[in-house]
């Protein structure tokens, strides 16, 4: 079993490496880091620009294969991902932002999974009834809404609520209130308050997708003979569905979990921007808009590693849930 997981992990690791290198190549070919300096007033001389670009290792005059090689050599020998155009190292940038993003991502994913699974099971059990129809319509609506629209809508609702109550109950700009005095508990409460809206936004999007998959997985299980067997032993329908049905219906979900994690990451980038969080998503979006090749590759590597972990985790969960695949 451990051998199997290790093998899958190595597979994912190779895939992550390929994804990161491809991202580097793609960014090197498409992005034009010189553009940022050309618009300056006074315009720096070509020699200055070239030397800055050479310093970052992103000069388009150098063939991309050479730049890629230099990037890999630097990564292997110095453990460095290069510098951003703001002259900070990419690693330190990631270190500063990762915590912010992970807090949001992990909370959002876990809540999304729990809510999505619950709604999916509920919808399947009450198929074609009003509650099922309502869940379906709501989840399709959320799936069709762009992440930033959802974020802004939540902000509007929060503002209305704040105005109605007359106090700043829900704060949604940044990840904490700058210059707030108080002890540890006050800080924690403040951060939790700021976390509320972005988490809801992420969780809503995730749950909408999960619930659709869970519903169809559960529908397959509802008609299964072993549910009938469980009832014939003396379980009520509800308890048979929970004990025997949900457990089996969760098995295909663990695979979906791994793949949907990528979607959640993409959604998180937009959500971070909307709520002015300085996280990895912001780094990714900014690096593209500012033609920052090193930062972009670093952000992609971070995402690839997260997906690697999620994928391996999904395999472990799959094996834990389904005795038939244990080897």
């Amino acid at each position: 079993m451990i051998g199997f997981i290790a093998k899958r992990f190595i597979n994912y690791a190779i895939l992550s490496a390929i994804a990161t290198l491809s991202a580097y190549v793609l960014a090197s070919i498409i992005l034009n880091p010189a553009a940022r300096y050309l618009g300056r007033n006074p315009r720096p001389s070509d020699a200055t620009i070239n030397s800055i670009l050479d310093g970052l290792g992103v000069n388009p005059n150098t063939p991309w294969v050479e730049r890629l090689w230099a990037w890999i050599v630097r990564l292997v020998t110095e453990g460095s991902l290069g510098d951003t155009i703001h002259n900070t190292s990419v690693i330190s940038e990631i270190a500063a932002r990762a915590g912010t993003s992970l807090r949001l991502l992990i909370l959002g994913t876990v809540i999304a999974a729990i809510v999505g699974v619950t709604l999916g099971v509920w919808g399947a059990v009450r198929q074609y009834r009003f509650s099922d129809q309502a869940i379906s319509v709501a989840s399709f609506t959320i799936l069709a809404t762009p992440a930033f629209v959802l974020g802004i809508l939540l902000m509007i609702v929060a503002t209305l609520l704040n105005n109605f109550l007359g106090v700043q109950l829900i704060s949604f700009t940044g990840e904490y209130t700058p210059g707030l005095d108080g002890g540890w508990w006050v800080q924690f409460g403040d951060r939790a308050g700021h976390l509320l809206l972005p988490t809801i936004s992420l969780a809503l999007m995730g749950a909408a997708g999960y619930s659709r998959y869970q519903r169809s997985a559960m529908l397959d299980v509802l008609a299964a003979d072993y549910i009938r067997t469980a009832r014939s032993k003396g379980r009520t329908r509800g308890s048979a569905l929970v004990r025997h049905g949900v457990r089996v219906a969760l098995i295909p979900m663990s695979t979906y979990f791994a793949y949907s994690f990528a979607t959640v990451l993409a959604g998180a980038a937009v959500t971070e921007l909307v709520f002015s969080w300085h996280g990895m998503g912001e780094l990714l979006v900014q690096s593209i808009s500012q033609s920052d090749i090193n930062a972009f590759t670093g952000a992609i590597l971070f995402n690839a590693i997260l997906i690697l972990i999620a994928g391996t985790l999904a395999d472990v969960v799959y094996a834990a849930l389904d005795p038939r695949v244990r080897v």
């Binding site: 093998k7 399947a124 059990v125 009450r126 198929q127 074609y128 009834r129 529908l219 509802l222 008609a223 299964a224 003979d225 072993y226 009938r228 067997t229 469980a230 009832r231 014939s232 032993k233 003396g234 379980r235 009520t236 329908r237 509800g238 025997h244 457990r247 089996v248 098995i251 849930l321 389904d322 005795p323 038939r324």
Partner: protein, 717 residues
Amino acid sequence: MTENLIDPAASNETSPSVRPGPTQPNPSNHLLEVRDLHVTFPQPGGAVTAVRGVSYHVDQGEFLGIVGESGSGKSVSSLAVMGLLPSNAKISGDILFEGKSLLGRSDKEMSKLRGEGISIIFQDPLSALTPVYTIGAQISEALRLHDRKLSKAAANARAVELLKVVGIPNPERRAQAFPHEFSGGMRQRAMIAIAIANNPRLIIADEPTTALDVTIQAQILEVLQKAKDMTGAAVVLITHDLGVVAGNADRLAVMYAGRIVETGTVDQVFHAPSMPYTVGLLRSMPNLATAGHTRLVPLEGRPPQLSNLAPGCPFAPRCPVVIEACRSTEPPLTVIGEDPLNSAACLRVAEIASGQLDRTKLYPVPEPVATAERALVAPETVLDVAGLERHFPLSKGSVFKRTIGTVRAVDGVSFDLRTGQTLGLVGESGCGKSTTVMEILELTKPQAGQVSINGRDVATLTARERKALRKEIQVVFQDPMASLDPRLPVQDLVAEPLTVHGVPAKDRLEKVRAVLDLVGLDPSMASRYPHEFSGGQRQRIGIARALVTDPKIVVLDEPVSALDVSIQAGVINLLQDLQEKLGLSYLFVAHDLAVVRQISDNVAVMYLGRIVESGPAEAIFENPQHPYTKALLSAVPVPDPTVERSRTRILLEGDLPSPTEDITGCNFRTRCPLYKLMDAPGKEQCRTQDPQPRAVQNSVVACHHAERIGLLAAGMP
């Protein structure tokens, strides 16, 4: 109707809507009493009434058999007793268990009774056990649901005990296994263990052995009988196989189109059936005791659709003694003689019971093919198989594959087939019979051995010759629905082999019409699609497709096992007639020994990739020389209660070993009942020497001790 049962839309938490019948003044003295039960499933295309006024009772410790074809309502009525019907089912009438009505109870109230008072064993043990829990956990779950005070450890211990009772070896270890690690027979044993866990007063067994091999079926019926004796429970056994109930049940109810049409003791129903349907069913079943001597009597037509049922007796369109009144009034169950429990639903029951209408002559026995129509055939060998082998390597690892063993699917099989004759190839599932016929149909050089058709070794054929030879050897598959492309009309399906062989279009149509006529289908139906035909008709289409190239050899791979009992006889008769008219040679693969007995001239019995006994059908069935053949034959239930009660049964232990196992010497010795009776040198011989086929009496047997087969009959209880 069955779709409805599994329709998830139909299920919800509320109990099915119930319209209780008029309150009965007399309380029930029976363990279970079903009174005038109706079950209707509303559907967009019109309501389907699956059960239409069924009344029966079961007393304490009684064994009731309910027999019927698919769609007769036998399963629906038992699910109604358990309260497991989908919520859209409309139930009326009354179901009394221990004198108290079960209808109108909530799911919660019913769940207290299910498993504790009434338990049920389902047909397919693979899907009936939850795949993610261990067998032990699923048994102890049943225990703890009804005894909250029972500790987990005590429940597990009791689960192991129950597994031991139902005959699972190593129960401590096996309790930790998951359902997919169990074979079909062991899963069904586990299901029985769950059913008897709380000592119920009533066990309902819904087709408990249908998915199993005959040898395993015999074991399971034995376990069921043992479970009944241990718990003292009454048993309701639901089946389509008259043979299964003949030896076990006390009383019988025969269902047709949602009603009980005949009921009585087993002897009354089997020996003096009074409803023409029962008479026909008994006559149409191939039966080991009579097969081979008499022609089967087919029951023409098919059961009616249960939506929009026409008035009158639902059996009238198929009944040979139908009178005008049958078409307008549906006959009630009428008591036949003295016994109030023996009744039949037929307007002419008095005539049949009194002998005015001779029940043995109710159905016309189909005429054999007239001598003038018979094809003249020269007896020559058309198919010769010698030492055929097919081994599959078993590999492990995904990157570096390494062979860790060999599956000996076919391991040196030899037989020959002569013009105009039928060779029956029998054996349990997994014995390699299907692989053997597929190897032959490949028409290429086998891994080892030789296949010759019409005297030509197929290994030497060129591609063109091989294609030409395919005309000579054709195949009919098991499931007629799955083997016909649903998107093609019948004429295209049947003409396809002709297209392959380049027959011009106008000749094709003519040939198709001729061959459809030959198999008893109206040529005007040629433009219809497969789903418009019934099961028996579809199999006729399959046969027509095989015959359209005028083959000499037809391979029949389980051609009737997917058909309902009453339909089987017609197809078997058709195959026999075609053989005589066209001089065909059949290679007939089947697990149903009675069917094989009916149609075969010669029989070869396969076990783990080898032929253990072969010879003329008469010799094999009357006087088997190999212990496996003997056990196989003794496992087949005979639809005759007198025969069933008097004969001794040789039970094989355990399941078919995995073909990857390397068994030294004789590969049957692990299950051989004769091996156990042998003295030490005899056993030594079985362990060390692989028995070679040799002639014993009239058959060829691969057993060292065939001469001492007589020990078996004497040595077994």
